[in-house]
Symmetry: C2
Subunit: 370 residues, 2 copies
């Protein structure tokens, strides 16, 4: 689409803005930073027309919409963006890596439903001055990561941005109805388990920003790769969806405590998390020590881990963990137990003391004032 | 997803950028503004893995992807964004109007395939300081426009933007395989026809930017509404898809000449366009006269018209036009004729002289240097 406005001379563009005026006049109204991301989503959900649609199996509130299109399997639809200056900087990523990461964050959402990714729409907003070769590298990374996962780019859109580069991907996938998992469904007594290790991505970003930290090269490379080149747990998600014993699943992208809170709220349960059981890589304590940082805090609240968090009944957990290892080579670990909602969300610390989740900063919120 | 980078102190963000360095060092490489939007899309298409996928009926190159999901009808998938400072300004639109327009431009793409819209994912990138009430108004407009068209919001994403507001919508729809129309399929001898009238949206924008022009109030209101509140031709598109006689269709969003060129290239044909047959509203000449502008140029190259352009055999055209009027109340007009490709793309001017399309500025390109 041609944006008419941009077709005109720039001199005509500088006018008093209605929006700016509104902002100045009405200092008493609510700003986005006051309600935060999840407050906004709740407000949006309430005001949208709630027309009952039997074909919408899961709508607003999960990371992925689940839609009935006939043909025996559900359609999955998710979108996630990478915004220059918010999600990435060009000094910590190459265009190729950015493309792979933009794909991976969406693939991870499909993985968390137990689904198989199929088709992507790529919306690119880029400044005029960017090198075409950089954009080509971005699409090479993106297309390659999708292809490895069995998905292809089928369309999209390109538009000029007023400042930095933004890539916004919508990913469509399929899942058999009997293999679908959502974030709701965890039951009191279920084990809370997580794949792989947590906290490396946060450690990796810290190292990109403080390269002179003196961390041994191998550990540094390991955690930096976890930040720039996340891998979606697709086979793992499909295995967990298929095994018939998992009750709820999501991917750890906002940070373990935040995502565990999301699962508890959606499932109507509480949780007890044993912090000493949270799995971390061998590299994490080494990096944290060199940077005089708290490895546990990174593991609990870091974010961008792209591991799978799931709820499974206690008796099935050993079998599920074994099947996951056999089929995918990936380990998982029980890190706590879901409890009744009125018991709340609690951490069991190394010394056995209990603490509320709120003792930690909690999850990431896009809009809250920081 | 929590963008890790944004979680850190802003002082650490200001570092020499790899990207900026690359831009400075390599002045010989190609910039986006040099290849333009369509050059970029062609480059992307060539480099993406071309894995044959029997379920992709129409992939990159049309405005809408067409996908086989089983269940008897095709899935349609399209995305289009509105970027502050590029597609809109807050002084020419309210948040409510922006929401409706963001929906309409996507609905129009589904209309052009003969389809019915069903589900939307809304990706919002917004500055922290924006009023929550403005975002709620945006979603009210967007949700209302979708509901009127039979579609619902099923998910999306919210993220912080570094500057202005961006709303990027992915719209999914359905179409019966036998009613699907694409931009390819026009045949030599076919009539080129268009619904409604062209050029008003451009006139409307000019009036927003020059409100003191002395245009009569009613005409001014008419054309300004065409710019701020476009209506997708959904019933018209479905009627044209169903009638069995239309060979190709697209929506006029880049400007008539540009979109006619797209249809000719996709169909492998040329065209002769009779400029005096191009339909314009009664308001258009009045506005153009007051602004000392060329109404015909606005109608030929304006853009954001969201009318439907279609190819239909000459013998069927009267029946199709009649059926369209009966079913939807919307008129259409034959504006030219498709010819063999080697005859090129020509205008027949008012005085009978012929001219190439290139005599006009042609279509909009997002990235070309202007």
């Amino acid at each position: 689409m041609k944006p008419l406005y941009r077709g005109l001379a720039s001199a005509t563009r500088r006018k008093a803005s209605r929006f700016a005026l509104e902002t100045r006049l009405d200092a008493m109204t609510t700003r986005l930073k006051d309600v935060g991301e999840f407050g906004l989503i709740e407000r949006i959900r309430r005001l949208l027309p709630g027309a009952p649609d039997v074909d919408v199996i899961v709508g607003i509130g999960d990371d992925v919409a689940v839609l009935e299109t006939g043909g025996g399997s559900y359609l999955l639809a998710t979108c996630d963006c990478q915004v220059e200056g918010v999600h990435f900087l060009w000094d910590t990523t190459t265009p190729f890596e950015l493309g792979r990461k933009a794909a991976a964050v969406n693939l991870s959402d499909i993985a968390a439903m137990g689904g198989a990714p199929r088709w992507a729409l790529v919306s690119l907003m880029a400044p005029q001055e960017i090198l075409v070769e950089s954009i080509e590298e971005l699409y090479r990374g993106l297309g390659g990561a999708l292809a490895e996962a069995g998905a292809v780019v089928v369309g999209g859109n390109t538009a000029k941005s007023s400042e930095g580069l933004i890539v916004d991907i919508t990913l469509l996938g399929r899942v058999a109805p009997e293999h679908l998992l959502t974030r709701s469904g965890a039951r009191p007594g279920d084990v809370a388990a997580v794949t792989g290790t947590l906290g490396d991505a946060r450690a990796g970003l810290e190292l990109w920003l403080r390269p002179e930290s003196g961390v041994p090269e191998e550990e540094a490379r390991t955690v930096k790769r976890r930040y720039t080149s996340p891998q979606a747990r697709l086979l793992e998600g499909q295995c967990l969806g298929r095994c018939g014993a998992v009750h709820a699943m999501l991917d750890v992208s906002d940070g373990l405590l935040s995502d565990l809170r999301h699962m508890c709220e959606a499932s109507g349960v509480g949780v007890e998390l044993e912090v000493e059981r949270v799995p971390v890589s061998p590299a994490l304590p080494a990096v944290a020590a060199a940077l005089k940082a708290d490895a546990l805090a990174w593991a609990l609240t870091g974010g961008e881990d792209y591991e799978l968090l799931f709820a499974v009944s206690e008796k099935d957990f050993p079998r599920v963990a074994d099947q996951l290892l056999q089929e995918t080579g990936t380990t998982c670990r029980a890190i706590g137990r879901f409890v009744d909602r009125d018991q709340g969300l609690r951490l069991i610390l190394e010394d056995g003391r209990r603490s509320s989740f709120d003792a930690y900063a909690g999850g990431w919120d896009h809009f809250k004032a920081t």
